[in-house]
């Protein structure tokens, strides 16, 4: 019996940009991987090493220079409602009430008002914003607006949800709270999530699998079998430390630390 088809397939994907200086930048340098349905995938790496480009290619917002990206065996040719994205920037539409934001994809699909309301009620409750349904986004905190953005993508009922450092601009405590909210939503909905981050701890809290990017290459594909919920003790377990060490090594940080430690010893 053959293995089930992957939900998302990257096959030798390349993405090149022409820099103003005339040099060619290889943002993605032949990236290949498969992701089955329902997986929480974190894409981790330093800034400028291809994480966001990979996500934008999957979103259909960035054209590739070669290779193919497929979702359910269909080639990605542009943005679509089957791959909504939460951005690092605040993209909750300020001119729409909270409810209208959550219902945006449903309105585009042409759902009836009563149906839209029933769906938005459910997701607003899931993110704890029921009483703010008729508020303007400016009346909410940054963390609450991120909840609205999460509710909007989950309400769209897409199979694949894309998140580009969505909590990057928030303080540590708000971010931790949003991790719990996101994991609850993911558990309830069973969607496939691609989550870009440069925070190792964040990826250990969230991911089923961590894809480590460096210089436009997929340099490590790490399964995270740690039990959930992942408390500090679990993240500090032998396996947690091993994953962290692997990531640091692959990003060249561990090596740099060793060098600096040796220099200190010499002094």
């Amino acid at each position: 019996m053959s293995a089930p088809l992957p939900l998302v397939r990257f096959d030798d994907v390349r993405c090149e940009f022409e820099h103003r200086s005339g040099a060619t930048v290889h943002a993605l340098n032949g990236v290949s991987f498969d992701v089955p349905a329902g997986q929480f995938v974190c894409i981790l790496g330093r800034s400028g090493h291809g994480k966001t480009t990979l996500l934008r290619v999957l979103a259909g917002l960035q054209a590739t220079s070669g290779g193919s990206v497929r979702v359910r065996e269909r080639e990605v040719a542009g943005p679509g409602s089957d791959r909504p994205m939460v951005f690092q920037q605040d993209t909750v539409f300020p001119w729409m009430h909270v409810r209208a934001n959550v219902e945006f994809a449903l309105r585009v699909k042409g759902l009836a008002k009563s149906e839209r309301h029933a769906i938005s009620d459910r997701w607003l409750e899931a993110v704890g914003l029921t009483q703010f349904a008729e508020s303007w986004p400016r009346e909410l905190s940054g963390g609450m607006r991120k909840r609205v953005a999460l509710a909007a993508v989950f309400a769209s009922d897409a199979d694949v949800l894309l998140m580009d450092e969505p909590f990057g601009s928030l303080d540590y405590f708000t971010r931790r709270g949003l991790h719990d909210v996101l994991l609850e939503l993911w558990t309830a909905a069973g969607k496939t999530i691609f989550f870009v981050t440069h925070d190792i701890e964040e990826s250990l809290i969230l991911a089923d699998r961590i894809l480590v990017m460096s210089d436009g290459l997929l340099v490590e594909d790490i399964p995270v079998e740690l039990p959930r919920p992942r408390s500090e003790e679990i993240r500090a377990s032998d396996r947690g430390v091993e994953i962290t060490r692997t990531i640091l090594e692959r990003l060249g940080v561990e090596q740099a630390m060793d060098v600096s430690e040796r220099m200190i010893v010499r002094e």
Binding site: A59, G60, L61, P79, G80, S81, R83, P84, M85, F87, Q89, T91, F93, P94, W95, M96, F104, A105, V108, K109, W136, P137, R138, A152, V153, S156, L162
Partner: protein, 286 residues
């Protein structure tokens, strides 16, 4: 220095709302009234000075009272449709409002359509730059030659300049809409029409309001100039008439009347804009 206790911290948090300054401030209305009174005072002072031909405020008020609704002078000289100043004021206001409405529709429509259809902006940008630089005194005679001394000439001229201004404003406003909003809408399934309606249209309103107010304020002047150059009615036409018969009081009365109507129309525009911009951080209108 030691940290404050938890109970004291909670106490301070609870009192925060009571720590706001309670001093009274002079409201904006009072300041506006004060400015108005000062202007009247300066006016009275200048009018009382010898060697300067400026009517006193009371003379102007008397003229307005005697001629606004019905004027024997205008009737005797076959002016103002045999009525009072209001007749020409209505003529001017009607042309301005029609011209601004038509110009806004055309300017905003073309400006926003040129966002998804770059070809439109490539064709229109040089035209807007060329005609936008042409002074009104150069352009006005063309409108008079083409349309004659009828309201169509004045309405067309106001529409033309309003459309030019709002085309430039809407282009800039559309360019300033954050790319992330457009991309976010696209990943949520929005196609070109939905992106236009749900992102570009509301996202450009704050800047368009500013452009609209500038166009409206300028339109009164444009209309008056167009009437000065060639019309059979309107405040500009009357001002031109009274300048020829040295009717200084009437000229000031009519100018004041035009200014008051312009301020009232701007106030109404601000009220409408506030309703449209409830979602902005300050709710203030540019």
């Amino acid at each position: 220095m030691s940290a404050i206790s938890r109970s004291e911290w909670l106490n301070r948090r609870g009192n925060r709302s009571r720590l706001r300054p309670s001093g009274r401030r002079l409201g904006p209305f009072a300041l506006q009234a004060l400015g108005f009174v000062l202007a009247i005072g300066v006016w009275q002072f200048v009018a009382a000075s010898k060697g300067i031909t400026v009517p006193t405020p009371s003379a102007v008020l008397t003229d307005l009272r005697n001629n606004f609704l019905s004027s024997t002078y205008l009737r005797a000289h076959n002016l103002g449709g045999g009525q009072g100043y209001w007749y020409d004021l209505w003529y001017t206001a009607k042309n301005v409002l029609m011209g601004v409405a038509i110009g806004t529709g055309i300017g905003v429509g073309l400006g926003l359509i040129s966002v998804p259809f770059r070809l439109v902006s490539q064709v229109l940008n040089p035209i807007a730059a060329t005609f936008g630089a042409a002074p009104i005194f150069v352009a006005a005679p063309f409108f008079l030659v083409w349309f004659g001394v009828v309201p169509t000439a004045q309405v067309t001229m106001v529409s033309f300049y309003t459309a030019l201004l709002l085309y430039i404003f809407s282009r800039r406003a559309a360019d300033n809409v954050a790319r992330e909003y457009v991309e976010s809408a696209a990943t949520l399934g929005a196609r070109r029409f939905h992106v236009f309606r749900s992102v570009y249209l509301p996202g450009t309103v704050p800047e368009l309001v500013g452009g609209f107010r500038i166009a409206l304020a300028g339109a009164w002047g444009l209309e008056a100039i167009a009437e000065l150059l060639g019309a059979q009615s309107g405040i500009g036409f009357l001002i031109n008439y009274f300048s020829e018969v040295f009717g200084i009081v009437e000229m000031v009365s009519l100018t004041l009347l035009l200014g008051i109507v312009a301020i009232v129309c701007d106030g109404l525009a601000v009220l409408c804009a506030r309703a449209l911009l409830r979602w902005t951080a300050t709710g203030k209108v540019a």
